[in-house]
């Protein structure tokens, strides 16, 4: 864990320093008498950088129980889920709610959950329809029709 913590801490430290620099130069900190727009972000980012530095120092040295960040291919399912959701977010408005949601459910259950085709189709159809009914009809949220509506 120490190695991964150290890497995370360094990322936090670098991000904190960049934002603190930006807050001080581009936004302006102002003075204690008259704080400017960068004052609060500077405090928050400096705090983040300092805490990151502290964590980096605390995680120095050998790991007594080294373990990989992901066991074997454990990253696969979360990575696929994130990829499917990215495609869903990009296609949601142009393709429309019905098709994009149905495809997301099919891909999620077939590729990630590895369930049988029968259940994939039933679950995808049911969840797409129920969610449409709940949001569009009951809560009055206008969901995008996409090219089906055109």
């Amino acid at each position: 864990m120490k190695k991964h913590e150290r890497m995370a801490a360094l990322v936090v430290l670098i991000v904190g320093c960049i934002v603190a620099y930006h807050s001080a130069t581009a936004l302006k900190i102002g003075s204690l008498q008259r704080p400017d727009s960068g004052f609060f972000p500077f405090i928050a980012s400096a705090g983040m950088a300092l805490s990151g530095g502290w964590l980096a120092l605390a995680s120095l040295g050998q790991d007594p129980n080294p373990s990989p960040f992901w066991e074997e291919r454990a990253w696969m399912r979360p990575a696929l889920a994130a990829l499917f959701l990215l495609l869903y977010a990009l296609g949601f408005e142009p393709v429309g709610y019905v098709i994009s949601t149905f495809l997301l459910m099919v891909l999620w259950q077939w590729v990630i959950e590895r369930v049988g085709w029968g259940r994939v189709l039933v679950m995808s159809l049911a969840s797409t329809t129920i969610m449409w009914f709940l949001f569009e009809k009951l809560l009055g949220v206008p969901l995008p029709g996409g090219f089906l509506a055109a």
């Binding site: 991964h4 913590e5 995370a8 801490a9 936090v12 904190g16 934002v19 930006h22 936004l27 003075s31 204690l32 008498q33 008259r34 704080p35 400017d36 727009s37 004052f39 609060f40 972000p41 405090i43 928050a44 980012s45 705090g47 983040m48 805490s51 990151g52 502290w54 964590l55 605390a58 960040f69 066991e71 454990a74 990253w75 399912r77 979360p78 889920a81 994130a82 959701l85 990215l86 869903y88 977010a89 990009l90 949601f92 709610y97 997301l104 459910m105 999620w108 990630i112 959950e113 369930v115 679950m123 969840s127 797409t128 969610m131 949001f135 809560l139 009055g140 949220v141 969901l143 995008p144």
Partner: protein, 502 residues
């Protein structure tokens, strides 16, 4: 007298058909969340925040979300006792002795003790809230910017200190929350901050998107990594009523747990988890037979279960009177109030008594609903574990995505949701406590405004926080807790070194 009038008014709000229905739905959903491992109360409340946009009345929205929160505390005990599977973090210690009792055929007694203890503690907690809320709200009317700054800062730092995880990691999530809240227009100068040229970010991040990403989607991503399937174990539950001997062992533990839980629940960062852990430690220390703990001690179930319910009631006090959320779940309810156009804090009781008293009254009713839901339906709740994650996960994802889209009808929010989901996943993987993040996010505007106003008032002197009695007292309390933590840590380290040397 005012309290009774307010409470009666609250009951007239809570007993309307719609509010009763939402209190019931909240308690039902909360119990289900408590039973199912993998989806905590904070995640569920965040998932349902978009729904509250469409609920017309603020009182109804908060009654519904509060029901989920305290319902989860009840539900968590069922699977802890019967299956050794804590559905949420506050029930982890209940599993130690509760499961042992179930293995010995006393599962029914354990469930009954947990439910009765939860009911008594929950009700005592709400009585405490009824009594302490109004005077505290009145007292908070004296607060100016320096007091609010001190209170918010101390609340946030205590949340980090008491979370029990690494201090550095807690501070990182706290600062990240403050930083994320700074993105967008500066409320004072109107200057655009930290948007990296993205126009959609000029109005800042939406709290619901952040909460649903970090808690909802992040938890789903994390659960996708876990391959262990939940095995349903069917045991003989035994009779659903404790014996006289068991009741005698439980009653003082329930009372102690209620008082301790109430006190801990008031502290920012305290919450139900710390309350149940502290109660277990206290009961073990006070017991004449500490060796029975871990082997099915009645007090090991009664104390922690009472404590976590009392704490969940008590955590509404800082929210409703001071406008400070004590934990991540309460931060979601804070956001729900903001969504409804209400500012949680000392003016809530005076300006919106229907919300203030309606929520409190609904908690009395909710406690009764929960006992009725939990004990007779115990078999149904255990069966709920048969729903596999392969069904539950995609439904939660769909609810999250469509829910986030519904807020602004913007696909950009879906991208932000994904970003926060990935952030939540890595926070969990790297064992960062995510709780301070939403708390800092919702409190950041108040913290920044109070700080800037205080500095303007004092012409740049930081002594303003230490010379005014209330803010100085708050800073003093914080310093005392920090010193106590450091001394406790050093003592522990010293004891460990001594043990190693021996």
């Amino acid at each position: 007298m005012e309290i009774w009038e307010g409470l009666l008014n609250g009951f007239s709000v809570a007993l309307t058909g719609t509010n009763l229905l939402f209190a019931f739905l909240g308690a039902l959903l909360g119990t289900a969340v408590g039973v199912l491992p993998g989806l905590g109360p904070a995640a569920t409340i965040s998932l349902l925040l978009p729904v509250t946009y469409r609920i017309g009345s603020p009182a109804t929205a908060v009654i519904f979300l509060a029901g989920i929160y305290y319902g989860a505390m009840y539900g968590g005990s069922t699977t802890s006792i019967l299956l050794n599977l804590p559905g949420e973090a506050a029930s982890v210690v209940t599993a130690i002795d509760g499961y042992k009792m179930a293995q010995k055929g006393r599962g029914g007694s354990a469930l009954a003790i947990a439910a009765i203890g939860s009911f008594i503690a929950g009700t005592l907690g709400v009585i405490g809230l009824t009594m302490a809320g109004p005077p505290l709200a009145e007292f908070a009317l004296r607060f100016g910017p320096p007091e609010y700054f001190a209170l918010t800062l101390v609340g946030l730092l205590l949340a980090v200190f008491l979370s029990g995880s690494s201090l550095a990691k807690g501070l990182i999530t706290l600062c990240l929350g403050l930083l994320l809240a700074s993105i967008g227009l500066d409320p004072v100068t109107g200057k655009v901050r930290l948007t990296m040229g993205v126009t959609n970010l000029e109005s800042g991040f939406d709290f619901v998107t952040l909460a649903m990403g970090v808690f909802g989607l992040g938890e789903i991503f994390y659960n996708l990594e876990q391959t262990e399937a939940v095995q349903l174990v069917t045991k003989k539950i035994g009779r659903l009523w404790p014996s006289m001997k068991e009741w005698a062992e439980a009653r003082w533990a329930i009372l102690r747990g209620s008082i301790l839980g109430f006190g801990v629940g008031l502290l920012p960062g305290g919450g139900a988890v710390l309350a149940s852990l502290s109660s277990y430690a206290l009961e073990k220390r006070l017991s004449k037979h500490p060796e029975e703990f871990g082997q099915g001690a009645v007090a090991g179930v009664a104390g922690p279960e009472s404590a976590n319910n009392a704490a969940s009631s008590a955590s509404f006090i800082p929210l409703l009177t001071l406008g400070i959320p004590a934990n991540a779940s309460i931060a979601m309810i804070y956001a729900a109030l903001l969504i409804q156009g209400l500012q949680p804090g000392p003016f809530l009781m005076a300006e919106h008594p229907d919300v203030f008293w309606g929520v409190i009254a609904s908690m009395y009713i909710g406690n009764v609903i929960l006992v009725a839901l939990n004990l007779p339906l115990v078999g149904v709740w255990v069966q709920l574990l048969r729903v596999p994650f392969s069904i539950l996960g995609p439904i939660v994802v769909l609810f999250t995505t469509v829910g986030v889209y519904s807020i602004n009808n913007s696909a950009f929010d879906l991208l932000m949701l994904l970003l926060f989901g990935v952030l939540g996943y890595f926070l969990r993987k790297l064992k960062f406590e995510p709780g301070p993040l939403p708390m800092a996010f919702v409190l950041a505007p108040m913290l920044e405004n109070a700080l800037r106003q205080s500095l303007l008032m004092s012409k740049g002197s930081m002594t303003i926080f230490f010379t005014r009695p209330i803010s100085a007292t708050l800073m003093g309390i914080f310093a005392t807790i920090v010193i106590a933590q450091i001394v406790g840590g050093l003592r522990k380290r010293g004891a460990a070194r001594h043990a190693q040397a021996v």
